[in-house]
Point group: C2
Chain length 168, copies 2
């Protein structure tokens, strides 16, 4: 958020603000994912978190690229939404003892983060196109596809084994 | 969250905990939506927020029904994720002066809440089925469909006019 009120005056300002917001979010996820991988018991889930950590680092780099393409300063602003999502993930994970139930809780937590990113990238892409920045939109689109794929992969892991194991 | 650590011992506990979490989230949205409707300028968007307020009240009632069907106490637990999403919505909305840009920002904020709910209901439905509670799953499914429809409606409003107006 800006230091002054009413500092978003145009669609362009909103676009840049949202880039700064998701840049912060991606960087927070780079910090959170190793812990999630460490807590996961299912090997495929653990590996999934580690692969997504690599992807997330690429998403950070892509955002830096978009800032530069758009002539904006590479900058992060606090994003209370992702902070809340990560805080909740940590709280819930801290309360679960059973390993299989913990895996189910971790998947649920990770999917909340994925969905947050999916909605933010969705808006960013729509706004970039509206601003005539199809070049930025196409870079952001790559990340969006990876977030959607990560979300689907988590659903598959949950539904193919983790939920069943957790309920048994 | 519970008062004691490690108080989620089973998939059933996780299911009930998540019900309490989304129950809190829906009730927070019942409080937030009238302000969003008030801030919106586009009549269709304003009306959309008000219609979704009515739906959200129904979601609260449906959750109370699911708690009872499942023999669990109707109770809310703090949900830092939705608090973060709403806090961010209020912060961004407070920084935008232009009415069209504000509409675009409001849609983006509302979609973050919708996506949060979509992911939570998705997990709840999968867990309910795993727990042999198809009756609960089918009540939750109705809400999930409405959240998805609300999200799509917001995308349509954004892409058909709001984004274009905001960028002009």
């Amino acid at each position: 958020m800006g230091l002054f009120t009413k500092d978003i005056k145009s669609m362009n300002d909103l676009f840049v603000h949202q880039l700064q917001d998701i840049y912060y979010a991606e960087k927070q996820l780079v910090k959170a994912l190793p812990t999630m991988a460490q807590k996961a018991s299912d090997p495929q889930l653990k590996q999934g978190f580690l692969s997504h950590l690599d992807e997330t680092k690429t998403h950070v780099t892509r955002l830096e690229q978009v800032f530069k393409m758009h002539g904006a300063e590479v900058k992060a602003v606090n994003c209370p939404a992702i902070d809340g999502i990560i805080e909740e993930a940590e709280e819930v994970a801290g309360e679960v003892e059973d390993k299989s139930v913990l895996d189910a809780a971790l998947i649920n937590a990770a999917q909340a983060a994925e969905h947050y990113e999916i909605t933010r990238y969705g808006s960013l892409i729509a706004w970039a196109k509206q601003l005539g920045r199809n070049d930025c939109a196409s870079v952001l689109q790559k990340t969006l596809e990876e977030e959607k794929a990560a979300d689907k992969k988590l659903t598959t892991i949950a539904e193919s084994k983790v939920n069943m194991r957790a309920a048994s």
